[in-house]
Every structure is written in C-alpha cells, then in structure tokens.
C-alpha cells in the first residue's frame, strides 16, 4: 500500500517552483500602475489640480476647507475615477472568464451580444425619456442593465436547449448581437437628430455620466460576484486543459460554463449600464493578463481586473490630457491607446515562451 513510494523519491529543489512570488510582484506592479493612472486622472481636468494639491484635498475629504477643490475632486473627478477602476475591473474579469469558458481568444464580454442589448436598452430609455417615470440618469442604466440580462437569458435558453458547447454559445450570442443591433439601428433610424446624437454619444462609452450612486451599484455587484469567481478559479484553470481533460478531472463543464456565464452577464451589465459600451478593455485585458502571469486563474483573474482598471483609468487621464475640455468619450480613447499597449505586451510576453 505504499503509493508514497511512487511519489516520494527525493528531488533536489522540489520546493516552490510555481513562480508565485514573481507573479505577485507583477500584480503589485500593475497595482502601482493603476494608482499612478488614477493620480494623473484625478489631477487632470478643465480646472487643473497639481499633484501637490491633490493629496491634501483627498485627505481633507469631501467636506474639506477648500470648498472649490473639494467639490471638483469629490463630486466630479472621484466618481469618474472610481467608475473607471470598477468598470475596467468588471470588464477585465468578465473578459477573461468569457475567453476561458468559450475557449476562444477573440471572445469578450460583448461577443454574446451583451453590448448591443445594453445599447438597445439605453436607446429605448433615451427615446422615451419624457414618458418614463424615472429621471434619465436612472432610467438609462436601468434599461441598459435589464436589456443586457434579457440578452443573457436568450443566449442561456438557446444553450440550455441545444447543449452548452462553446460553439453553440458563440453562435447564439452572435445571433443575439445582430438582433439587438438591428433593433438599435431601427430606433436610431426613427429618432430625431437630437435624440440620435444622444444615443450615439451613449454608445461611444463615457465616464462623464458617473455618479456616486452608480459607483456604489457597480461595486456592490462586483463584490457580490467575487466570492463565486474566487471559488471557481481552479476549475476555470482546469478548463484550459480542454474539455475532455477537464471533465476527466471531475469538472462539470456545463455547470461551470452556466455559472460563469451568469457572472459575466452581471459584471458586463453593471459595467456597460453606467458608462456605455467600452468593449475593447474586455478583449485585451485578458490577453495582457495571460501574457504577464500565465494561465493560472488565481493570478490571471486579478491581473485581468487590474489591467482593465489601469487601462481604463489611463485612457480617461489620456483623454482629458489631450482635450482638457474633457469631452472625448473614453470609449474612443481606449481603443486608440489600448492597441499599442496590447502589441507591446504580446511582444514582451512572447520572449518567455517560444510557441
């Protein structure tokens, strides 16, 4: 009965070769990058705010002595910066989960039609703004959120009926994507020029709509999903071995896909409802994360969240720096600076693994 004999032959240096320390350092560096991006973002704006005033104003709190600076920082810039961090993290997390469960490096939270649905929901709310019982600032996110969940439910039902293979999920998602895109185009076609402009602006994706109540909502959803994400991180890593291997190790792949799918729907809905469609982050943050810390989802998930947050905060700062008037929607900037970042990461990450 000594299976220990098979396992316990002495090995030199068998101790910690998992490289965990190195990965934690990379995570820490990315955290620092996020902090730096946030500092630049908070100190940039139409009225400026040098870094040496930023810290005292931050520490003084929302009711600090310098009323002007406190208001600018706590009522205008902080909600935007907090929203950038949260939305970036949500998109990074859901992007990596989506790429893992669909086994597809091109997948993003938007592959399954979530963004198109959110856009349609927002367009409906904008179009019928006056006849809605809620003020627009609440009605648009609520409509976008609800419609995202509707899209998720449709994809889920199709997958439920036909079997949740990655191919079926992607196909159903793309069908839903085109469906909601058409509805959204129809609304745009019907809308008056003023309403059309509002819809298009929403679709660009912007942090300027950020409010503390929005920040609170997104952070509650993120916090509620985190325990489930943490619980499944090894199962998701096992899924990277491929369907058959994962199943043979005891992973119930269909149940795992179903759970993760619901989580990504919630995270994506939370992210896009308050900011509009900033899809690119969800596609490239996971690639950056895998290139930097590998496939172990214990590290890749937080890395993807941090990378998403840092990219969005950086894009926001960059957008404000380029046009201090501050109206370039962050969704436009994200792709412009995100692509070079992605290429840099892919080239650097490739050095380590000649594949």
């Amino acid at each position: 009965m000594s299976d220990a004999a098979v396992l316990a032959s002495p090995v030199p240096g068998a101790a910690r070769r998992s490289g965990a320390t190195g990965k934690l350092v990379v995570l820490g560096l990315c955290g620092l990058a996020l902090v730096a991006a946030l500092a630049v973002d908070l100190s940039t704006g139409p009225s400026g705010m040098p870094l040496d005033t930023l810290l005292p104003t931050l520490l003084a709190g929302p009711h600090g002595a310098d009323r002007m600076a406190a208001t600018i920082l706590w009522q205008l810039r902080m909600p935007e910066a907090a929203m950038a961090t949260l939305v970036g993290a949500c998109l990074g997390l859901s992007g990596l989960q989506m790429q893992t469960i669909l086994d597809n490096p091109l997948a993003s939270p938007f592959t399954l039609g979530f963004s198109a649905a959110a856009g349609f929901g927002a367009a409906v709310a904008i179009l019928f703004e006056l006849s809605l019982p809620l003020p627009a600032i609440y009605a648009i996110p609520v409509a976008a959120f609800a419609m995202t969940l509707v899209a998720a439910a449709i994809v889920y039902l199709i997958a439920r009926i036909t079997g949740a293979s990655p191919e079926v999920l992607v196909l159903a998602g793309i069908a839903v994507l085109f469906f909601f895109q058409s509805l959204q185009s129809f609304l745009q076609y019907m809308a008056s020029p003023e309403v059309l402009q509002q819809i298009v602006f929403w679709l660009f994706g912007s942090l300027q709509k950020s409010t503390w109540s929005g920040v609170l909502t997104v952070s509650v959803i993120l916090t509620l999903t985190l325990p489930f994400i943490v619980r499944d991180c090894w199962q998701l890593t096992a899924l990277r071995l491929g369907e058959d291997n994962a199943a043979s190790l005891g992973v119930k792949t269909w149940a795992l896909r179903r759970r993760t799918f619901v989580l990504t729907a919630l995270l994506t809905a939370a992210a896009v409802s308050f900011t509009g469609t900033i899809g690119f982050i969800g596609l490239i943050a996971p690639h950056a994360a895998r290139a930097l810390v590998g496939e172990d989802h214990r590290f890749a998930l937080p890395m993807s969240a941090l990378a998403g947050a840092a990219m969005l905060a950086g894009a926001s700062a960059f957008g404000k720096a380029v046009s201090p008037g501050g109206v370039i929607p962050v969704g436009i900037v994200t792709a412009v600076i995100g692509v070079p970042v992605l290429f840099a990461i892919l080239v650097l990450g490739r050095k380590g693994r000649p594949a």
Binding site: M1, S2, D3, A5, V6, L7, A8, S9, P10, V11, A14, A15, R16, R17, S18, G19, A20, V230, C233, W234, Q235, T237, A238, R240, L241, G242, D244, N245, A247, S248, L249, G250, V251, R290, G294, E295, D296, R298, R353, P354, A355
Partner: protein
C-alpha cells in the same frame, strides 16, 4: 479489492454501442483493453469513468465506484493553452487545491515529474513541449490523484518505444505498490502482453474475452475480432510474440 461490473450497456444516438458487459477484476495489476477500432473500448472506459450514461451496476470494493477514487485519461489529452507543466500536474489534485497551493502537492508533483524524467520541464509552457512529452505529463498528472482505479485510453500513442516501456513500467509499479486497479486501452498487442497480467478483448460492442493474455489472444480470437490471420511464436527468451501474417477472408 475488486471491481465488479454487471450488465453494462451504453446506448448512443439510439444505437447500442456497448452491450451486456459483465466482469470482475482485482486490483494490484494492469489490465489491457484491446480490440479493433470501433469495438467499444473507449465507450467502455469512459462509461466506467462515469462520463457516459450507461445501464448496469459498477462496484469497487463492494460499494459504488466513487469518482474521487478514480482517475481517467481520455484518448485525446492534448493541451493547447500555455499552462505550465507544474500547473498541469497540480490540476491533478483539483479537488484539494485552494488559493494557496500546499508544499506537499508541489513536492509530489516534482517527484512524479522526476520519476518520468520531466523535472527540468516543470516551469515550461505546455505548447513548448513535444507531443510525446505532453502525453507523459498528462499521464503523470493522473498519478497525482493517487487513484485506486486508474483508467487510461491509449496513453502511450505519442511515445517512442523506450518511453512506452518506461511509462507502462511506472504505471505497472504504481499498481503493484498501491494495490490500484489499472485499465489501459492499447493497440500494441505485444506491449499489452508484456505489461498487463489481464486482458479484455472487445469486438463489435461486446466483451468477447477476459483473462490471461495466453487465453484471450489466440489465432482464432484474433481472426474473429480483427479479421487478421496471426501466428504466436515463442521468442528465444521465452516471450510469446504475436505476428500478423495476413488478412482473413471477410467473415463478417
């Protein structure tokens, strides 16, 4: 320690792909599962592993076979993602992995890798390995589970002769030392006879022979199962060697 299977039937897409398999096997050795393509070997193994719906009763040591006491290596194990070899090994212990990985699990993984001559590859990404090395990693991963029942579907198909001998040698030693029951589907009949005390011969979705290889594999059963004429000769060292000599007239 014995595995009892009674009246196992598998139906897929309205077609019976495995019919009325009943057998009894004891632990501590390796049993080969042989038979022509489409005979039902993989169906039998994946049903036994609990991954295919089936009828019938399977018991291990008198109780229902618990998946946690078992490891299964499917036919296609190739990994396309950039997981490192050590990460793949750790996933063999999926049920007990937490946010922090235990030193014992890492030490066990390194010990197994060393045993299979793969220790230097521990931090390499899977796609940088050769096909044979990847298959060896996946085989060692299954041993990480310390299974009581180990089921493998052509686990040596990508290996050269030396690595086949080594890998099967390690698996056989594991079975002997731990008392585990090992079932391996193999195409190479001579290799199967060399390492496996028992043999199960499948053909057309049925179990047509079970026992020691001299009893199960004869010119007649080979002709019946594979449609191949064969001779069995004794080598100078006393091994019973299988030599295919030609195609049998189509009887089925």
């Amino acid at each position: 320690m014995s595995l009892e299977i009674r009246d196992m039937n598998v139906t897929r897409g309205g077609r019976k792909t495995l019919a009325d398999v009943s057998l009894s096997l004891s632990g501590g050795g390796v049993t080969a599962v042989v038979g022509p393509n489409g005979a039902g070997k993989s169906t039998f193994l994946s049903a036994l592993a609990g991954l295919l719906p089936h009828d019938g009763e399977i018991t291990w040591k008198g109780a229902a076979l618990d998946r946690r006491a078992m490891a299964y290596m499917p036919q296609n194990t190739d990994v396309r993602s950039a997981l490192t070899v050590l990460e793949v090994m750790l996933l063999g212990r999926l049920e007990r992995l937490g946010v922090r990985v235990g030193d014992e699990d890492i030490a066990d993984a390194m010990a197994l890798l060393a045993r299979f001559g793969l220790a230097d590859l521990a931090s390499r990404a899977m796609p940088t390995l050769s096909g044979g090395q990847r298959q060896l990693v996946m085989l060692s991963q299954r041993l990480m589970r310390r299974p009581e029942v180990l089921i493998m579907d052509e686990p040596t198909s990508a290996l050269d002769i030396r690595h086949q001998m080594e890998a099967l040698g390690h698996v056989e030693a594991y079975a002997r030392e731990s008392g585990a029951l090992v079932l391996i589907a193999l195409h190479d009949i001579n290799l199967a006879a060399r390492f496996c005390g028992q043999m199960l011969l499948f053909a057309r979705g049925r179990l047509i022979g079970a026992g020691a290889h001299e009893e199960v594999l004869t010119a007649a059963t080979i002709r019946g199962a594979y449609g191949v004429e064969a001779e069995f000769v004794a080598s100078p060292a006393g091994h019973r060697v299988f030599i295919p000599t030609g195609l049998a007239p189509a009887a089925f």
